[in-house]
Structures are given as structure tokens and as C-alpha cells.
Symmetry: C2
Subunit: 198 residues, 2 copies
């Protein structure tokens, strides 16, 4: 991928997080990306909708990779889930309450108004659910409950971001983390809750 295209994608992702899809203009994208205006249509012939679709899918994948790295780097699943929420809270504080979920704002904006982008956000959430379900199954939780738990943990993270960004404190995200850890701890078979290397 050319560096200009990457710069456009990264800039748009950042603007989506701050202002949402409707609030982000292509002129603003090229200005902040330091790219010529025509480059947006060169790389994204479908205009803002195509750019939005690629940004949603790319941001979703990058965020998943980030979260899985934290989860897989922990000594066990319960500790990993706690680490994910603590890390998210830290990033939120450090970025002045901007860097939360990269796609939630857009997902709510487009859910009833743009079918292509709605599907892109649905695909991202499903990819997160599948990845979390996989980790929970590996920890010994049955497939059905693992999928329910995966959705609940993602929902706690999303709800935590929403309330914490509004209040500009991480109290809500901390509460979400406590609840997520409690749910996961309650679901993992007891013989599997020890350290992975124990």
C-alpha cells in the first residue's frame, strides 16, 4: 500500500473517532493527511463511502490485533481480560478521552442510514466475537456459552467507552472491567484458571 493511501486511512480513522462519519469531510481528510485532494478519489473511486468501508474494516482488524496481543500476553485468560480493560482505560486517559473504540461512533451513525457501512461494522463486531469466542473455548468454556460471554465482554468494553468518554473519567470502564473479569472467572472451569505455565 502506498504511504499516501495509508496516511489517508489513518487520518480518516482518527477523524471518525473524534467527529464520527457524518462529521468528517473529505476536504478535512486531505488537509490533515497532507495529500492532494484528487488522491482520495484516486485511491477510493467510490468516494467517502468506499473510504469509510476500508477505514472501518482496517481499524477493526488493527484493534483486534492489539487486544489479542494483550490477551495472549497475559499469564491466564482472567488476567488477560483485566489487562485489556486496564490498558483501554490508560489509553483513554492518555489521549484526552478520544482513543476508544475505533468504529462505535460510525456504527451507531450508519446503522439506520447506510447499508454498506452498517455491514462493515457488523462484520468487524462479528470478527471480534469469533476471536474472543475462540480464546474462551481454548480456556475450556463450551462453544455456546463462550460466544455469549464473548459478546458480553465486548459489550462491556463498548459501554465502558461510551460512559467514560461522556464523563471524562475511567470509573465506568473500570466497572466494566470488574464485571468482565467476574463473568470470565465464573465461566472458566476451575482447573483452568491457574497460570498457563503453572
Amino acid at each position: 500500500m502506498t504511504t499516501t493511501k495509508v496516511r489517508i486511512l489513518d487520518t480518516t480513522a482518527e477523524l471518525f473517532r473524534r467527529y464520527g462519519y457524518t462529521g468528517t469531510g473529505l476536504k478535512q481528510v486531505v488537509a490533515e493527511a497532507g495529500a492532494p485532494f484528487g488522491s482520495v478519489y484516486h485511491f477510493f473511486p467510490g468516494g467517502k463511502a468506499q473510504l469509510g468501508d476500508e477505514v472501518i474494516r482496517r481499524s477493526g482488524q488493527m484493534y483486534l490485533d492489539l487486544v489479542l496481543a494483550v490477551l495472549d500476553g497475559a499469564t491466564d485468560l482472567v488476567a488477560g481480560v483485566g489487562d485489556v480493560f486496564r490498558g483501554a482505560a490508560e489509553v483513554l486517559r492518555e489521549t484526552d478521552y478520544i482513543d476508544a473504540c475505533p468504529i462505535a461512533t460510525v456504527a451507531l451513525e450508519v446503522a439506520s442510514s447506510n447499508e454498506v457501512l452498517r455491514v462493515a461494522t457488523a462484520d468487524v463486531f462479528e470478527s471480534w466475537t469469533v476471536a474472543a469466542t475462540d480464546r474462551f473455548e481454548r480456556a475450556g468454556i463450551a462453544a455456546g456459552p463462550a460466544r455469549v460471554l464473548a459478546m458480553a465482554v465486548i459489550e462491556l468494553l463498548e459501554g465502558g467507552f461510551l460512559l467514560s468518554r461522556a464523563a471524562r473519567t475511567t470509573e465506568a470502564l473500570d466497572a466494566a472491567g470488574s464485571a468482565a473479569v467476574a463473568l470470565v472467572r465464573g465461566a472458566v472451569p476451575s482447573r483452568r484458571t491457574g497460570r498457563r505455565d503453572g
Copy 2:
């Protein structure tokens, strides 16, 4: 309150749910409310920001009243929490996945860009947290854990709305409901989980 003002507030609330704050124009508001254009500035001299502020606070209070009616109408707290999520899922299906949280879209849009509206959304979430904490305390849960639990249940509802609107199925909201019920059941002292009239 005059009927025109109420019509403007209700129409704006509906447009916020569908298109968000940025995607809702005042021309669209007066057209759909069947009100003369000048009436917006008559009732809301501060324009869109003042209208937005009133809509957020009014929608937040109406939604709280609705949820508390469901919660207080149940035989016990655990059943009531389950009813809230089941009712929310039913409304979502019936309204073609539009009628979810009345303020979440706006809350994410304005969190980093409009301080007056951010505070309005923060006040609404705090009022919901306080009300839920009160219900949990009345069921015998200590104040500290009750507040954490209140936030977690609200976060599950919000996250459930987000994933369910994106996917256009209520699977995620059902998962959120299961998790919320499990958390509340685990927190209520066992002697208090029976029927209120038992």
C-alpha cells in the same frame, strides 16, 4: 409546554436516534415536525445546541422512567433486569433496529467536540447510574458494589444495542441480558432473591 415545542423535541429525538446529532439538520426538524422554521429559534434561542441539550436531557429522563417502570413492575430485581433486556430487544425488532438508546449516538459524536452536549450526556448516564444503584441497594447490595453493578448493567445494555443494531439481530442484546442477569443474581444476597410478595 406548547404542543409545537413538544413536537419539535420528539421529532428531534427521533432524528438523533436515526442520524445522530451532526446528521440532523434544523430544516429537517421543522419539516418533519410540521412547524414553521422560526419556531425552532422561538423555543430554542440558542439554536441547534440548545435544542440538542434539551432533547438529550428529556430523552434520557423518559427512557429512565420507562426502564424503571419495567424494573419495578417485576416480581423481583433479577426478573426485572431480564425483563428490561427482553423488552429492549422486542422494541428493537419492532422498530426495524432504530429505537435503541436515545442518546448513545449523540454521546459518542459530541464527546470530543461539543462540551455543552457532552456534559448533557454525562448527566443522563449519571442519572441512570444513580437510579440503578438505588434499586440494587434496596435489594440488599452494598453501595459500592451496587454502583459498579449499575454501570456494568447500563454498559451491557448500551453495548448490546450497538452490536444488535449493527448486526440487525438481537443475539447480542440477548447475550447482554444473560450476562446482566448473571451479574445481578450473583450480587443480590440470597435471602433477597425470592419474590417481593413471597
